[in-house]
Symmetry: C2
DNA sequence: GTCCAGCATTTTGAATTCAATTTTGCCATG
DNA sequence: CATGGCAAAATTGAATTCAAAATGCTGGAC
């Protein structure tokens, strides 16, 4: 067999930031994206050779990436049998939204104490961006989701709750696939915008109790809508 | 160089259960234990060659194990620099105990609805075992910790909250090192036993509100004691 | 005496290679 | 025709090998 050249990541420019820090991280990101988008359906086998060939790397980094996806809950490992894309029990989905609601309530209470003027300005900008988006288009939906995520990320950052933030990130990944699958769960975008306005007002007032309550209900509603949407299939 | 023999795990007997399912899992477990016991202090570099040599394996499985410990929050990775044992911010410790309190409250509410007669019997047995343990000895302390863990695990299992259980396992690992370091945080073992009795009574009555409250305070107290103990250094 | 530069060594990153298990397809048998 | 077993192929598991980057050390210059 011919000696294949020593393949490496494209050398990043000194200041370049988009290059990945390691091949496993690169592989994990691509796989994660494919799983969340539904390109690789739940239950599918993740053959190491396949993945490696598709991404132009060898198997060892793929193994490391799969190991990481396993601890993230996106893949399941069976010894000597390989990795499969994890399926999620509806009960687990409901529980994840419960956890998110619990965390968001606590985050709201903390954020009301620590928010800065810059936080308020940034959050206002996100709301304005969401209100300005067109209603029916797919790109509009994607952009809305992005701003929505940034809105909640900002509140979370202001709260200083780092561990909760980390866990929320992992949990969000686990349910993201079903959110995309569940179609427009933001059927009442106007209501979401109203709730965001209320949330911002409570944050400005420093009313932690009210903010926590609003956030909890906000997340709870989203979860209830998703579960209802999934049940209809 | 002489060709080293192809090293493998000791072949498990057909029915043997103690053998590990894979080398990475084996390495991860040994490393985790060493980190939690404090044998490897926070900030220490985890040299792949060292670890591999010490455990009699090669580097690839060590890399996979380190990747897993990273996502568990026990190790930190810096590209091209290697892995170091993660240090925990006191603020993170406090937050982890807050999360545990949050989860335990919710778990209590659910457990009160779903507990079976067998659960009550098993929990009673654990309490009796804890009450029968001698006070001052180190073995007594370890045994107490074990039964205490089983006590709470049983309630958690009865609640049916799988995701919370999974997350609690990871979080418990992260703070375990500091619990062992903090010495006898169970200085008031009698009080813990009393609280366990109250918890069991509320569970038997099916009083979810009260059970949740008791569990929340139970965990909160443990966290407060640990933080106080750590601050005294 | 101190600081900086260049080289050697160490350590990580990733690919190839080899062994063992599992799975699959085929053939024989009931 | 169905089922069980056997053999071959495919796939995972793990070690070795080779390349690149980071670290440390030494020597020289200021």
């Amino acid at each position: 067999m011919t000696r294949a050249p020593y393949l490496r990541l494209p050398k990043p420019r000194p200041g370049a930031q988009d290059a990945h820090e390691s091949l496993p991280a690169f592989v994990a990101e691509r796989l994660r994206e494919a799983i969340l988008a539904g390109t690789i359906p739940p239950g599918a086998l993740l053959r190491q050779e396949d993945v490696a060939g598709r991404l132009g790397v060898s198997r060892p980094p793929v193994r490391e990436a799969l190991k990481q996806l396993e601890t993230e809950g996106l893949a399941q490992y069976r010894p000597r049998r390989g990795y499969v894309v994890a399926a999620l029990d509806p009960a687990d989905i409901a529980e994840i939204f419960e956890i998110r609601a619990l965390f968001e309530e606590r985050i709201g209470q903390a954020a009301a104490l620590h928010r800065t003027e810059e936080d308020l300005v940034a959050l206002d900008a996100e709301i304005l961006a969401m209100e300005a988006l067109p209603a029916g288009t797919p790109e509009g939906g994607r952009a809305f989701g992005l701003h929505n995520r940034r809105f909640h990320d900002r509140i979370r950052a202001a709260s200083g709750m780092r561990v909760m933030g980390e866990l929320l990130g992992v949990l969000a990944n686990r349910v993201e696939r079903y959110i995309r699958l569940g179609g427009r769960l933001a059927n009442s975008r106007e209501q979401v915008n109203r709730e965001h306005r209320d949330i911002l007002a409570a944050l400005r007032d420093g009313d932690g109790q009210r903010l926590g309550l609003l956030l909890r209900l906000h997340v709870h509603d989203a979860g209830a809508r998703l579960l209802r949407s999934l049940k209809e299939r």
